[in-house]
């Protein structure tokens, strides 16, 4: 068999994709997760452990989903549906179950208060929004091309959009002066930067409501972004994964509404990404969708979705759940109320520690300004502070630099992935820390 030959390499080489670190998992974003995993907070068993505030997960409304599944368990297990099962188990059509797409379209309409219409045939299913974003990138851009993304942005984009696709991200710098909203000047600057690098810009990707800002994009800004995309003849991807997590029902303006107002002119350059991971608190289900107004993109995305289909069992369960209007209406309203309550709780708690946050109106986190506490107003200063907060205060929060924020001192703090008690403990720790820090500065 194998003869021991020390000279001959016994490992065939791997690809650049395999050995590159574009997956970005060496960043603080992921280091914080690691620290949490090694010493997780538990109210009873480990009260001094690390509290996870770096995970944007929605656990405030999960009881409603749980109740639904328990009361309608036959939908997920075919207790009565023998013929249903047969089709389901074999169903691997990349079109996705029609009933599921219809339910998703209806749910997306409900979230937008009926202000936009969605056609089930323009929906492509993917196993999560992570896959949806990557898939769109494969379709809209070639290796070496670029996507423009406003900062600060979700750290995962560096991995999701670049790793296998070979596409570059060029940041559109936004700062606190404009409340981190995108400006036409910033977009132009980013575009020019791409030109100077001899890189073709193929699209602009926005997250609305924004992660990590926790705020919706204003209507006027959305119009400017769309106009910019039209002027440069590029695509516009609107990641609306938090659209159901706005605190009010009217403050969120979807790109779909703007297109409808414009009678769908130039719509073929617009694509929306959605998922149930945030709004419904079901990240484990792996449910994502691409909604595109461009038929060619829909057809291609559908074929490509073979690499990332949703389990037919899950599609079936969700088709039932999301077409149950009683459930969805109650869920959407209640979820909004609870998120708002949490938001107010954390804002007030931080305020009493003299910490200000960006005015937010959506999402599972707030954008906290700790710049007064920095030793030096630099990225290093921010990371030093982050490190102290992680290891001494034992809170895992996300530093703005991992979100490519150009201003040091901002942090994203998640508030929906824990109980109220835990949040109180976290707020108390922050309070104590800030007090001590002040004392330390006075000494």
């Amino acid at each position: 068999m194998a003869v021991l030959d020390i000279e001959q390499p016994n490992s065939a080489p791997l690809s650049t994709v395999a050995i590159s670190n574009t997956h970005g998992e060496d960043s603080p974003f992921f280091a914080g997760w690691k620290a949490y995993n090694e010493n997780p907070y538990d109210e009873l068993n480990n009260p001094s452990g690390v509290i996870q505030m770096g995970l944007a997960e929605n656990q405030v409304s999960f009881d409603m989903v749980e109740k639904y599944v328990e009361e309608h368990s036959e939908e997920s297990s075919w207790g009565k549906g023998a013929p249903g099962f047969r089709e389901n188990a074999l169903f691997q059509d990349y079109h996705g179950l029609k009933s599921f797409r219809q339910a998703m379209a209806g749910f997306m309409e409900e979230i937008r208060g009926g202000r936009a219409k969605f056609d089930p045939d323009k929906i492509v299913i993917t196993a999560g929004a992570t896959a949806a974003n990557e898939l769109l990138t494969f379709i809209l851009a070639d290796p070496g091309d670029a996507l423009l993304i406003p900062t600060p942005y979700y750290p995962g984009f560096d991995r999701d959009l670049s790793w296998r696709t070979g596409v570059n991200i060029i940041p559109i710098h936004c700062d606190s002066k404009s409340n981190f909203q995108v400006t036409p000047e910033a977009m132009e600057a980013a575009y020019k930067k791409a030109e100077s690098m001899n890189t073709k810009v193929k699209g602009i990707l926005i997250t609305n409501p924004s992660n990590p800002l926790g705020a919706t994009i204003q209507r006027s800004v959305m119009e400017q972004i769309l106009d910019f995309a039209i002027r440069k003849n590029i695509h516009l991807v609107s990641d609306e994964i938090y659209s159901g997590s706005t605190f009010s029902s009217t403050e969120f303006i979807s790109i779909a509404e703007i297109l409808e107002a414009r009678k769908y002119r130039e719509a073929e350059r617009v694509h929306i990404v959605y998922s149930l991971s945030k709004d419904l608190g079901l990240p484990g289900f792996r449910v994502g969708t691409i909604y595109s107004y461009n038929d060619r993109v829909v057809t291609t995305a559908r074929r490509m979705s073979s690499f990332t289909l949703i389990s037919s069992q899950t599609q079936h369960l969700l088709a039932c759940m999301l077409s149950n209007k009683e459930f969805t209406q109650n869920y959407i309203t209640t979820n909004r109320e609870r998120l708002q309550k949490r938001y107010e709780m954390i804002i007030n708690g931080l305020r009493s520690a003299r910490i200000e946050c960006l005015k937010g109106n959506a999402g599972l986190f707030c954008w906290m300004n700790l710049s007064p506490l920095l030793e030096e107003n630099t990225k290093e200063g921010e990371l030093a502070l982050w490190d102290i907060i992680l290891n001494e205060v034992r809170l895992n929060i996300s530093p703005g630099s991992s979100c490519h924020c150009s201003e040091p001192g901002w942090f994203r703090v998640c508030f929906a992935n824990m109980s109220e008690q835990t949040l109180e403990v976290a707020l108390r720790r922050i309070h104590d820390f800030v007090e001590e820090r002040k004392k330390g500065k006075l000494n």
């Binding site: 016994n10 490992s11 065939a12 791997l14 690809s15 650049t16 994709v17 395999a18 050995i19 590159s20 997956h23 998992e25 995970l55 997960e57 749980e66 368990s73 997920s76 297990s77 075919w78 207790g79 099962f85 389901n88 188990a89 691997q92 196993a127 999560g128 896959a131 990557e134 494969f138 379709i139 070639d142 290796p143 070496g144 999701d160 790793w163 296998r164 070979g166 690098m197 039209i230 440069k232 003849n233 695509h235 350059r269 079901l282 990240p283 484990g284 289900f285 461009n294 993109v297 291609t300 073979s306 690499f307 990332t308 289909l309 949703i310 389990s311 037919s312 069992q313 899950t314 369960l317």
Partner: protein, 541 residues
């Protein structure tokens, strides 16, 4: 890819231009030489021509660049080496289609999609594979409701033992999904999971794989990465083992889906290695070697071999000897082996299945080059649930694949359900046994039916299909003749079968018939219809 064919067509244009231009240069130059004031013209004209030539080349290069697949991360200025221009697989890309969609320079033109999106591999909407599937969808056979509909023999799905799975679900699914609070209850499965799946699920899958392969080898759950089906498993391995522009050797005929899974988004090529009916379509190391050398001459770097065992569409099992030879070959060339064993549990003949995992052990120096693909779509008849497996002995590959699995993750409730099902040892054993028996029964009946019509099949030991030699019925011994027969079978006999050309078989006239979507009653119906076409073909010759 298309750059190769592009340069072919742009050349004559250039030549024509060159011809006319030449005259316009020579005359004034003559004037210059003869001092008749042609000096100005003689210097301006070549400059102008040169300028236009540059413009023309620049515009073409821009277009060609956006069609080329570049190495990831590089700026869009380099062009592919000419040696990689000859790619037989991609000849069929509709060039006109892709050119129409490259963005015109004016902003008022339509916004373009990437060349990658345009480069839909051979086997696009018009391929026999897809046309056939479409026809069945539009007009599906039903014994009572639609007896003249199209019978599906082109999809490798196993409906024979679905009733067993169904039975289990009816009795156990509710508990399986909701049982227990905490980690395994509904709240446990809703939250974010490690992207490479619940450990418990990996344990259950490892155990299932071992059972399916008759317990000769045990699989280590820590060497498993789970993906949403075997399709992304193959793609992920392709991304990990080869760079864009590299190639894999794949013995033909092969599963048509490989063209998509291996090539589409990765930019990796497939070099088909022909197997012949004289060898019963078994792999020949000589052929592999020849293909490897030829690739090298063309400047194509071969990174690995992809084999399927049992093979699709032929249904051969790879002998232990063959596996060892493959390993020797891979070692000699220092390349990887990907063994697609997705049908390991669907063997029905007398031969025993041997997994690559059996000939590799933990101390083996070659273990880093062996990777196995598996899934539950075939052996457990659950393609809809999307469960695929990458099993590797290479820790670096596992680490990379684990991270890449985030783009193709399995739904948690499905994992939960399957943990229960796969841990039910009694059910699993019964299923494997009964499934094999039913497969064998159908195989024997179907092959016998074809034999009565004078159609021989290769001896197959696994899979849901038989590989039939219908070359006696084709009008011309060519791909054209084969596709004509395929067309007759689809439109006259109204059966959807897979022509060998879709599987890149070099010998025309071979067809794949999947029998696992039929019931025994359907077989005579199918045979009758084939006979009809057979008579038509014979009477014409």
């Amino acid at each position: 890819m298309t750059r190769f064919s592009k340069s072919r067509s742009s050349k004559p244009e250039q030549e024509a231009r060159g011809g006319g231009a030449a005259m316009r240069v020579i005359v004034p130059l003559q004037g210059v030489v003869q001092g008749r004031g042609g000096l100005v013209l003689g210097s301006i004209i070549p400059c102008v021509l040169f300028y236009f030539l540059q413009l023309y080349l620049k515009r073409n290069r821009n277009d060609a660049d956006s069609e080329n697949e570049q190495n990831p991360g590089g700026p869009n200025t380099t062009t592919r080496s000419s040696s990689s221009g000859q790619l037989p697989e991609l000849d069929a890309i509709p060039r006109s289609l892709s050119r129409a969609l490259l963005s015109p320079k004016s902003p008022s033109g339509p916004v373009s999609v990437s060349a990658r999106a345009n480069g839909i591999v051979k086997g696009g909407a018009e391929s026999p594979y897809n046309v056939g599937l479409k026809r069945v969808k539009e007009d599906p056979y039903d014994e009572l409701a639609n007896p003249n509909g199209v019978i599906q023999l082109g999809l490798a799905e196993n409906k024979l033992s679905l009733d067993l799975v169904n039975e289990w679900l009816v009795e156990n699914a509710r508990e399986a999904l909701l049982a227990g609070g905490g980690e395994l209850g509904i709240s446990g499965i809703a939250t974010y999971q490690p992207f490479d799946r619940l450990m418990e699920f990996k344990v259950a899958v490892a155990e299932f794989m071992s059972q399916v392969m008759e317990k000769v080898v045990s699989f280590n759950p820590n060497q498993i990465v789970l993906t949403a089906g075997a399709t992304p498993a193959i793609e992920i391995l392709s991304f990990c083992l080869a760079d864009s522009g590299n190639a894999f050797l794949v013995p033909t005929p092969y599963y048509p889906g490989f063209d998509r899974d291996v090539k589409w988004r990765t930019g990796v090529e497939i070099i088909p290695v022909p197997c012949r009916s004289a060898d019963n379509f078994n792999i020949s190391i000589t052929a592999l070697d020849r293909a490897f050398i030829q690739a090298k001459k063309r400047g194509l770097k071969v990174r690995g071999i992809i084999v399927s065992n049992p093979s699709n569409p032929v249904g051969n099992l790879l002998s232990q000897e063959t596996l060892y030879s493959l390993l020797d070959f891979a070692r000699e060339k220092n390349i990887h082996i990907v063994s697609n064993e997705i049908l390991a549990g669907s063997t029905h003949g007398s031969e025993e299945f041997v997994s690559m995992a059996e000939i590799i052990n933990q101390e083996d120096l070659d273990r880093n080059r062996v990777h196995i693909v598996y899934g539950l779509s075939k052996d457990l008849s659950l393609p809809g649930f999307r469960v695929g497996v990458i099993y590797s002995f290479n820790n670096e590959v596992l680490a990379a694949a684990k991270k890449l699995a985030r783009f193709s993750s399995i739904s948690a409730p499905t994992q939960r359900l399957l943990i229960s099902m796969l841990s039910d040892t009694k059910f699993v054993q019964k299923f494997i046994k009964v499934n094999r028996e039913r497969l064998q029964k159908m195989y024997v009946k179907f092959v016998a039916g074809l034999k009565r019509l004078g159609i021989e099949c290769t001896k197959s030991n696994g899979g849901f299909y038989c590989w039939a030699d219908m070359s006696g019925l084709i009008s011309s011994y060519s791909e054209k003749g084969e596709l004509e027969l395929w067309d007759k079978l689809l439109n006259i006999a109204k059966i959807n079968v897979t022509p060998g050309s879709s599987c890149h078989c070099i010998e025309p006239g071979w067809f794949r018939f999947c029998f696992s979507t039929l019931t025994e009653k359907d077989i005579p119906v199918v045979m009758e219809r084939i006979q009809k076409v057979s008579e038509i073909c014979k009477s014409r010759s």
